[in-house]
Symmetry: C2
Subunit: 362 residues, 2 copies
């Protein structure tokens, strides 16, 4: 606790015997009054303990809060643990920093529909990071009369977006595996809706997923493998609500229990893939000799272990989202930014073992 609020701009003006305008100018437009008067104003302010114009009152008047709001799917604290979210955050912070804007993290509970916090945030615009298309918080953001930029998902008509081409990106992985000879695969994906389903995913659920990114990646895999002669209906897809390595482990276990014959596990995130690696090791499956595992994102940890994955420029996404939002007033600016992705050929993918090798060793 520090103090209460005694002095205001008006009381300062009264004390000095000048108008409020003059005091205001002393703070906001130094050139609009004599240096001498300004000095007197500031000095008296200090004496009275006047801390300068109240930011909220100023914001109300100027209609500018000087801050960008950030809405995340997850609890605030989650973002500080997911490497991809973190890199995005860093990029966004960079953009805010250079524009002198604050970054206001909106506290949101994905379970409770706590819309009030969105309405309470005094910000000039919102960045929304990767939420489901039916997220009520997103709806609340869009109802506010401020510019908004969505990163990754969902796509909303008329709303600016930063993202990648998920279909094209996952297709790079799929083609790679197909050319290596993999036909019997399994997939590990992140949550597909706001409801928890830690299990296999029906075709219907795949198609109606509320997370556009996951839906598109699954569709990309389905398209590519179908074209290669694989019956997608036979491909097991395992979903996990929580995004963690532990989830990757248990999902891989579930998959391998159901079909020990898969030669490759495709994961829609590096985190899940890292978990799958752990599970493979537990089962004494050598990667990539016995099992190919791929990820998605290209986080640092993935590089370290040599994961085959698709790198996406997450930090750049953050920067781009910030720039897009902060330049929202400009006339003919871009309304959608799609960043490039790149296949990273790691050491976790190789041709499948032949049937003979499986029985008689390499």
């Amino acid at each position: 606790m520090h103090a209460r609020r005694p002095a205001t701009l008006a009381s300062l003006a009264a004390e000095l015997g000048v108008s409020r305008t003059t005091v205001s100018n002393a703070y906001n437009r130094p050139d609009q009054l004599s240096p001498e008067l300004r000095r007197r104003v500031l000095e008296t302010a200090k004496r009275l303990g006047y801390p300068g114009p109240d930011p909220v009152a100023r914001s109300l008047r100027t209609r500018k809060a000087g801050a960008v709001g950030l809405l995340l799917t997850e609890n605030l604290s989650y973002a500080f643990r997911d490497p991809a979210a973190l890199a995005f955050l860093e990029g966004l912070a960079l953009a805010c920093e250079s524009a002198g804007q604050g970054l206001h993290l909106v506290p949101v509970n994905p379970q409770r529909e706590d819309i009030a916090n969105v309405h309470r945030a005094g910000v000039d615009g919102f960045v929304v990071y990767s939420v489901p298309d039916d997220d009520p918080h997103l709806a609340a953001v869009l109802s506010r009369p401020v510019p908004t930029v969505v990163c990754d998902q969902p796509r909303v008509e008329g709303v600016d977006r930063v993202g990648i081409d998920d279909h094209a990106a996952i297709t790079k992985i799929a083609k790679r595996l197909i050319s290596l000879g993999h036909r019997r695969i399994g997939v590990l994906c992140m949550r597909l809706g706001r409801d928890r389903n830690d299990s296999f995913v029906s075709l219907d659920r795949q198609r109606s997923a509320h997370f556009h990114v996951q839906r598109t990646r699954l569709a990309g895999l389905a398209d590519t493998f179908t074209a290669a002669g694989v019956n997608w209906a036979d491909v097991r897809v395992v979903e996990r609500f929580d995004h963690s390595q532990a989830s990757g482990e248990s999902a891989a276990a579930q998959l391998l229990d159901a079909d020990p014959g898969v030669t490759a596990i495709i994961c829609t995130s590096d985190i899940l893939a890292l978990g799958a690696m752990t599970e493979a090791k537990r089962r004494n499956l050598r990667v990539p000799q016995d099992l190919t595992i791929t990820g998605f994102d290209g986080i640092t940890e993935a590089r370290r272990v040599g994961l085959t994955t698709v790198r996406q420029p997450v930090l750049e996404k953050g920067k781009a989202a910030g720039k897009l939002l902060l330049g929202a007033a400009e006339a003919n600016r871009q309304r959608e930014i799609t960043l490039e992705t790149e296949l990273v050929d790691g050491t976790t993918s190789a041709p499948p073992r032949t049937a003979e090798e499986r029985w008689f060793g390499p």
Copy 2:
């Protein structure tokens, strides 16, 4: 970009033919009007595209912004890269989350004295994380009539604080090394002031450091080693402005170049220590056989490599800071929280080699 601002609470009231109070109540005190009227109000609001009460105007009236400001020493983006800062952030976010408060990161450039951003932040209080005692942004924060909590440094009379006992903590390390037999040591520390000094540190600079935490840790080492018969004036202390592993590497190099005879390098952070490990390896010095290296903080990466260090509960610090701030109105609450630290005996410390061993091998 989304829309402009057409409807206000007043215009809605006019449209409905009711008073502004009624509309306000429809949003804030549902029990104060008939359900039927409330329904009508909300429906008309939707029709007119009224997004609900403006948060800034509401804040001005209620004198509550619903957000906590966070001031960091470094650029905003830095916080997302330093594991300790990150854990603190996570803890603080957790506290904010459960209190339904936003977390407003104040953009600040440590080089430029950009006080304006502190004054512009519409927040109900500030958390200040580890800044020098002469930081102008800190002064700006303290001038604002809102509660403030400082984490780690500096200590300010009358301002709440969360931290650890740095003297006691570093003493644990010192005593450990002394009991192992180390007498000829070197120290790597973080920046001691706002001016860059990537070199050795004079006794004077050690004592007058503007970062209380570093100053206290150095003092703790000086006290303990002096008591063990070491002449502190002979102990080389190397300072680095940037907190990175690269800094640790170059600092260790500088130290080992100046005195190849040191048997232990004490670092005031794990990050620096990890860098020192890299440099040791480059020189073919085995750790701990040829050289003991210790850190401070207990970050995940340190555990992984088995670094001897002092663990401090960084996440808890964040939580505690949040709780302290958000409970600032309470009557007889704690004004200072000191958390416990714990020596982590890793595999990077061992007795020094004797002179014979140095010449003839182990």
